[in-house]
Symmetry: C2
C-alpha cells in the first residue's frame, strides 16, 4: 500500500481496485479535493440555495432540504465538475480544447466551462437528446456532433476527435476532478445545514454514472459521518443499486426512461469505488412517480425540475424510505426540460 497521501479524506488511504475488472490503482478524490474545487469555483459557479417548504415537510413527514442545482449555471450541477476539471488542464494543453460526450447536462456544463475559460469545445451528443439541450449546448459556443445511442460508441467517437485535434476528453463522471467539482454541492449543503444547527440524517442523490453522489458523499461524510446515503435511480436503470447488492458493477438492460439524464449503462469505476463504501444502498422510482414529483415541484415549490433531477424527490414522495421525523437532504440536480414534456407532467 502506498504512503498516506497528504490530503486525507474518508477514502484517501484505501487501495483502489475494481472487483470485476482489475485495474492499476488510481488516486481517488478526497474531501480535500472538494475543498480545492470549491476554491476554484468561488465566484464562477453559483452558490445555489438549500430550499425548504412546510408543504414539502408535511408531505414527507420529515424536515426536508432540497439543494436547488436547477438554479446553477446551465441549469444543472454539471458546470461544477466540468469547470473544476478544465481548470486543472495545464496551460500548454488548453489550445486543443476539450471533447465531451453527454446526454445533455454535462454537455452544457462543459460548453459553459470552456466558454468561461476561453477553450474550444466539441460535444458528442445522442441524436435523441432533448432539443433544448442540443440547442443550448450550441448556444454556449460548442461544436455539437450527434451519434446514434443504439448503434454507436460515444466514448470511441470522443476519443477519435480528441486524438485528431489534440483535445482533452472530459468524462461525464469517472474522473477525480469531475467528482471533486460535483462534491462542492455537498460542501455547500453541509455548510448551510451547519449554519442552521442541523446535521443530515439521510441524504438521497440521483445516480447515473455516480459522480454527483460520490462527490457529495465525500464532502458530507467528511463532516457528518453519521449521514446515511441512498442513491436514487429510475426503475430499470438501477445499475447502481444492483451493483451495491452484487458488489460489482452491473449494467442495465437497454430501455428508455423519462429520466434522460440518468441513462448511463453502468456505474463508473472510480465512482463505484467511492459509492460502494460511502453509499452502499439504492432506491428507485417509476416514471409515474417521477412525473408526480415534477408536478409537485411545479405546483408546490414553484421550481422547474427535469425528470432526472426529480428522482430523489420522487422516491421520497412515494414513501420509498422511512424518514419520519428525520433531517433529510435531496438534490434537485437539473431543470433542463422541454416545455411540451413539462406540460404533460404537470397538467
Amino acid at each position: 500500500m502506498a504512503a498516506k497521501p497528504p490530503c486525507s479524506g474518508p477514502l484517501a488511504t484505501l487501495p483502489f481496485a475494481m472487483a470485476d475488472t482489475p485495474q492499476p490503482p488510481t488516486a481517488l478524490p478526497t474531501a480535500a479535493d472538494v475543498d480545492a474545487a470549491a476554491n476554484r469555483l468561488a465566484g464562477v459557479a453559483l452558490r445555489t440555495p438549500l430550499i425548504s417548504s412546510p408543504v414539502l415537510d408535511a408531505a414527507i413527514g420529515a424536515r426536508v432540504f432540497l439543494k436547488a442545482e436547477t438554479l446553477q449555471r446551465t441549469g444543472s450541477f454539471k458546470f461544477r465538475g466540468a469547470y473544476n476539471k478544465l481548470s486543472t488542464i495545464p496551460a500548454d494543453q488548453r489550445s486543443g480544447g476539450v471533447v465531451a460526450y453527454s446526454s445533455g447536462n454535462h454537455a452544457q456544463g462543459v460548453a459553459a466551462a470552456a466558454q468561461v475559460l476561453g477553450m474550444p469545445a466539441v460535444i458528442v451528443m445522442p441524436s435523441d437528446a432533448p432539443r433544448s439541450k442540443r440547442e443550448r449546448t450550441a448556444a454556449l459556443g460548442a461544436e455539437v456532433v450527434l451519434y446514434d445511442r443504439e448503434r454507436e460508441d460515444r466514448t470511441a467517437i470522443a476519443s477519435g476527435i480528441a486524438a485528431k485535434r489534440g483535445a482533452v476528453v472530459v468524462p461525464p463522471f469517472d474522473d477525480p476532478m469531475v467528482i471533486a467539482g460535483q462534491g462542492t454541492v455537498g460542501r455547500e449543503i453541509i455548510e448551510d445545514l451547519t449554519a442552521l444547527g442541523l446535521a443530515p440524517d439521510v441524504v438521497i442523490v440521483g445516480a447515473s454514472g455516480g459522480g454527483l453522489i460520490a462527490g457529495i458523499a465525500l464532502a458530507i461524510k467528511a463532516r457528518a459521518p453519521g449521514a446515511k446515503f441512498y442513491s436514487a435511480e429510475p426503475e430499470g436503470f438501477d445499475d447502481t443499486a444492483r451493483s451495491f447488492r452484487s458488489g460489482k458493477r452491473e449494467a442495465n438492460a437497454r430501455m428508455s426512461s423519462i429520466c434522460d439524464a440518468l441513462m448511463s449503462n453502468t456505474p463508473g469505476a472510480i465512482t463505484f469505488e467511492i459509492n460502494r463504501r460511502l453509499v452502499g444502498e439504492g432506491i428507485s422510482a417509476s416514471d409515474a412517480e417521477v412525473g408526480r414529483a415534477v408536478a409537485f415541484a411545479f405546483r408546490e415549490l414553484k421550481l422547474v425540475v427535469e425528470p432526472g433531477g426529480a428522482i430523489g424527490l420522487a422516491a421520497l414522495l412515494a414513501g420509498k424510505l422511512d424518514v419520519k421525523g428525520k433531517v433529510v437532504v435531496g438534490v434537485l440536480s437539473g431543470g433542463n426540460v422541454d416545455a411540451e414534456l413539462f406540460h404533460q407532467l404537470v397538467a
Copy 2:
C-alpha cells in the same frame, strides 16, 4: 408637527395627508416596523434566496438580483404581511377570526397565517380568480366566499362578514402592519447584498395596491438611501405610475390583464403616501412582454413565476429602463399560475 416618534425611519416624521381625499393623520409604518415584523416572521416565513444568473446579467446588461418570493410559503410574498398583521391582533380579539378579500395570493397568505396561528379565516375571492388559487385557499382551511368582480363590492362584503362574526378585516395592502410585513422582503434583500459588498442602484417592484413596494422601499431606503425605485405595472393597470405623475391617486379603466395579481383599481392611501415619496416613478409592460418574462424564467432560471410576479423582470428584459452596468434588484413576487396558462406562455 408631532414630536419625533421613537422609531424613526425615512418617513416617520412626515405628516400623513392625502392630496385628493383629506383624511385624519395616520401612523405610517417605518423601517423599525419592518424590523419588528422580521422578528415576528423569523422561523415562520421562509428566508427566500436572492437569485443571480450570468444569462440574466447578459440579457439585461447589468448585475441583476431577483428576490425569489415565488419560493415563499403559499408561493408569494403575501404570507409575510398577513402573518405580521395577524400576529398583532390582541389575543382577546382572535376568536372571531379574520376576513380578507383578494384575487388570490393575499387569500392564501391570510389563510396560511391564520392556520399557523389557529384562527378561523374567511376569504372573499372574485369568481374569476384562477382555480388553483381558489382551491389552495380552501386547502389551507379557509372558508371561501366568491363574488362578481364586475358587479359587487368586495370591501363591503368583507365588512359585512366581519361585523356579523366579530372578525378582523385584513386589508390586502393598505395597512401599516401588512406593509411592514412585506417590507421584510426588502430587509432580506439589503442584508444579502451587503454581505456581497454591494448596494442596489435600481430596485424594480411590481405594484398593485402598492404594499410590497412600499414595504421594500421603507426597508431598503433606510439602509441604502441612494437606491432608485420604480414601480412596475401592466399596461392599462398603471394607476400607480399615473398617480405619481398627477400627484393624486388615479384609478384604472376596468379591463383585463394577464397579471391577475396586479389588478387593484387604485393605489392605497397609506401605500401611496409612502410610494410618492420613496418611489415616485413607474414603468409598465405589456401582456406579451410579461409572457416573454415568464418563458425566460422557465427556460433560463428554472423558476415558475406567475404573470403578475414577472412584471418587473418583463420591464427589465424589454429594456424599459437604462440600467447598463448597474446593480439592479427585481422581485419575483409570486408563482401561483395554472398549468394551462403557464404552458401557453412558455411553449
